[in-house]
Symmetry: C2
């Protein structure tokens, strides 16, 4: 079976038309794939000021150039859209098995615009595609949606990204779920819901064609040898992202809405405890790391609860914000979010925001329908998750995310919304890891940890050199480094855990890309770094065109003015102004406006964005 | 792939041993298969007085001689055990796709005894078998159990029978679930739970070997032509068992614990309403009828609820007993029972029993934890189902079934437990359909509708002749007829809907059996009737050996003394004594004791049971 590959499908849900076009070679040459394609296509296609939930919005699904091959940790997909939560450019990413099916069905990208007048899903298989009725799926959770689509199409091996009730109800941080893996952040599921698009399902039997089979095979061999030689490989295979003991010990596990840095009884969250709950390891297509896991609780009031995960951010999301380390509740809440289609980070953080408002008396039992949101009591979390997903009771307010909920409540509340550009902070206190903080501030999608993760500050990674986690010095250059390396590795699309652990050299990555695409330039690390920086700047320019600038690179005052009361990070605040200036300088951006200079843009081949 | 077929697997869970043996030819000759094998094996193997939940209990899974072939409506499995709910012999049956996988894996029967000291599941595939750890599955619902076993074994096409939390918690009417189809009645799931057996999973690629391929193919052709020529085929394909309008119109839709015969607003349950909820039709392996359905509610407070079904009995179970026709609640409750692993009939009826106790003041709000069990309010049903499955609150009592719950509450309550031999009555008022009632009374497993369904009384089926539904006259002979025909068709194992609709002649059935097995005698309808009667009498003798007799063929006094107040059946009671005598006579049983005479037993080749 062949004859269909490297295609782009365009879908207009408003009139139900579907058409295909080939991938442009120039796009590959200049942007490699993955995140490069995504930002370029979205920049070109989306008019500034477009309502993310309106008829003119677009979303783009992309499988990378190495998806479906036996290269390791590359069978991932990315989704690009303007976020209804942040109003910025947004990218969201997930592993699992969907990218492989998409790629082997012949497609590198699906560009979806318009809005269907009734629920539909998109079905793409072996070069074919059609929109199908999804009225019967509307209202179903993600798990049942998978089951019923597979039954309808008589193929249990179909993979899909779908939304749950949260996406249907317009919760601003609804995700896209493929089996139990999520493109969680930023409201990709909300955009799908706004388009009446319940799912996008794939099945493909085509082998991915490679430009140079032998060179590719040799590069894969080198990659695998590199994995095995890296001591992080065994560690990460064993316990994945189960690192609450690391961040609690460092005193930077955000607790009580980022007031404290250690959660009481965090020992319950140690990896040795996790290993007791582990049912089995899981992994993505063509990834030997198998960092995922099925876990299950056999005790406590949540006996029988299970989930895939929880990953570190989710463990935190249902413990730190409530100041209660109950792993049973965490596992149950994680599964419930997966079923209902919610991003766990924004869900947990927004609930944590509500806990502080409750403490401060800005909301009361009357607002919560009787739920007592007191620190140390995480029991209301399950009910709050349901209320958020269905926009019932106080859930209707919390479904807006912490920033917008605070706006609606009134001025005093805004300081308690711990977010940047509307995206709730993940589980690293910026005051305890300054490059993390600087990345949260300047990341084009808001406070995201994956876009420029600083392993130097958490795991002491010695590349490019060693850094003190508290010092603001030299963090501009470091953050640029982390962000740019991530950007070019996400063209692949490499799993973001791998660069954090130094598990793939630029050289081997380049060989894989050349073997797959035949573009010789990709062999040159300098070229890859150039593309990475170009992508990051283009993302910035997307936001600049939407009106974003330095004013939006800002933490709430808790992070910049209040210090953590005790622990290793006691006394630290985040030196926002100083660090931003340092960063803008490292980036070659105007230090007053936070906008890339024309010189920098031209140097990167982004002259077309200047002045937009 | 071949070399494994017609095998019997013996499993001893106490010591973990598994061994296989061939099927005995004499057993095929004398009992054909299916229900014939089940009763003979269980009679031979199970010592009288065995505790169904003790270490000595056995359960037998059987796929029929026609499973996995292209004969229609035969790919079903049966499970045999002594029931923890009734203390009688028990058989339970289900369609779906599991029997095909079991048969194609090479097995006609699996005999399971003993008790594992930790949770296990049995995995059988292509002639191989092993016990696998199920600790990680304990506590999971049926749907998740399917998902995780399929993921563990990397084969989404595996089929299985499993239990949910209800079976684990020893609810006396826990079922066995394969996808969303149930071996619901009598506590097969309870027996599995008692054995620490979470599931039995199958996958097979073998083609079923046929004694005479050409003759078999011709018989299948004849069967299919017969289906198509039968007007019931189109009807039944369209709406399945969606017949509440029929029984409400006849005034025999048991309402308020069998006090009334029509539920208020039953129009909401009409098949025209059902068609609005229909998502799509579903069917079993190799059955062109596709009587099943996926339904979903898009309105009411249960918006988004969906299920496979509900079948007629389930529609009734969550409407009649509560005197409230809410199809949204019914769909949600059906799915919840499927997930938690409960028989819907006994669940709904036992809840209905609690409603009457609440009305009579025998239980109060204190007992129900605040739930108001008032007629016309079916909202508490969802919570009661959860409490039953996990044996929480009043659920712990109701989990015993209505008869035992009544015993524990005290003498006055027993009259309100509407059951025979401990098995709750299904959705036909015996006073409005006397042959149905007589079957409920004398069926070896308690008040079951499928074992001797009387289509003559509901659909006016003219075979063997026409009958008035209210008259007690000649119902003994008719009931024997219905029970015996069902018994021999369940050797096949034919779906019990087909005989009710006259969709298969004895002759064609005989040809299918001969084509598959090569046993010429099966071509003779008289031989088939003989085997049917023999099976039914052997089942009776199993119960006699356990101490059952005429005293146990008894309805509670509501059925025999109280009459339905209004509607077409007003004034009717069930003439128990007279009808039993008539029936025993038709059966050749002693009219004083209800025990088959030695003469009858010898005539049937069951001399070995006499005096036991």
């Amino acid at each position: 079976m062949a004859g269909y590959k490297n295609r782009v499908l365009r879908v207009d849900l408003s009139n139900g038309t579907l058409s295909e076009e080939p991938l442009e070679k120039a796009l590959i040459q200049e942007y490699i794939g993955g995140r490069g394609f995504g930002v370029k296509l979205l920049y070109d296609e989306l008019k500034p000021g477009t309502d993310p939930l309106g008829e003119d919005s677009e979303m783009i699904f992309i499988s990378g150039p190495l998806a479906g091959t036996n290269a390791q940790s590359f069978s991932r997909y990315k989704v690009f859209f303007k976020s209804p939560l942040t109003g910025t450019y947004f990218k969201s990413c997930s592993g699992g098995h969907m990218a492989k099916e998409m790629k082997c069905a012949g497609f590198d990208a699906v560009i979806i615009k318009g809005k269907s007048d009734k629920p539909v899903y998109l079905w793409m298989h072996d070069g074919k595609y059609e929109l199908k009725d999804a009225a019967y799926l509307w209202g179903l959770d993600c798990d049942d949606t998978h089951t019923l689509i597979r039954e309808e199409l008589h193929d249990p091996n179909i993979r899909m990204g779908c939304i749950g009730p949260a996406g249907e109800h317009g919760v601003k941080y609804a995700g896209i779920f493929s089996d139990r893996r999520a493109c969680g952040r930023g409201g990709g599921g909300t955009v799908m819901g706004g388009k009446n698009l319940k799912a996008i399902a794939f099945r493909g039997h085509q082998k991915v064609e490679l430009a140079d089979k032998d060179a590719f095979a040799a590069a894969v061999k080198e990659q695998i040898a590199g994995y095995k030689a890296n001591p992080m490989f065994a560690n990460f295979s064993k316990a994945g992202t189960w690192i609450p003991e690391v961040t609690n010990t460092l005193g930077m596990y955000p607790t009580k809405n980022f007031r404290e840095g250690m959660v009481p009884n965090w020992e319950e969250l140690e990896s040795s405890e996790y290993l007791k709950l582990l049912v089995r390891k899981t992994g993505c297509y063509s990834c030997m790391v198998h960092c995922g896991s099925i876990t299950k609780i056999g005790r406590t009031k949540y006996a029988g609860a299970w989930t895939e995960g929880p990953e570190y951010e989710t463990i935190w999301a249902f413990t730190g914000p409530m100041a209660k380390a109950d792993i049973g509740l965490t596992i149950a809440a994680d599964k419930l979010c997966d079923d209902l289609g919610l991003d766990t980070i924004s869900t947990g953080s927004t609930i944590g925001f509500a806990y502080e408002l409750y403490e401060k008396g800005l909301i009361t039992k009357k607002d919560t329908g009787g739920l007592e949101l007191t620190y140390g009591n995480s029991e209301p979390v399950m009910e709050l998750i349901r209320q958020i997903a269905y926009r019932k009771g106080i859930g209707d307010l919390l479904a807006e995310g912490s920033r917008e909920a605070a706006r609606r409540i009134g001025k005093d509340a805004e300081q308690y919304a711990i977010q940047v550009k509307g995206l709730e902070l993940p589980a690293y206190d910026p005051r305890g890891a300054k490059a993390h903080g600087l990345n949260f501030l300047t990341c084009p999608i808001g406070a995201d940890h994956n876009t420029g993760y600083a392993p130097q500050e958490i795991f002491g990674a010695p590349v490019p050199k060693e850094y003190d986690r508290f010092t603001p010095e030299e963090k501009g250059e470091l953050t640029k480094w982390n962000q740019d390396v991530t950007a070019f590795l996400e063209t692949g699309i490499l799993c973001s855990f791998m660069p954090s652990m130094g598990m793939l050299s630029d050289e081997v990555y380049g060989k894989l890309l050349v073997g797959a695409t035949g573009v010789k330039e990709f062999a040159d690390p300098a070229y890859l770094w150039h593309v990475g920086e170009k992508i990051f700047n283009l993302e910035r320019m997307f936001n600049v065109r939407e009106g974003f600038g330095k004013k939006d690179d800002a933490f709430p005052r808790r992070i910049t003015e209040e210090s953590v009361p005790e622990g290793p990070g006691a006394g630290q605040v985040f030196e926002q102004e100083k660090m931003l200036t340092d960063y803008y300088r490292a980036r070659g951006w105007d230090t007053e406006t936070g906008i890339p200079t024309e010189k920098k843009l031209k140097e990167l081949g982004l002259g077309f964005t200047a002045g937009k």
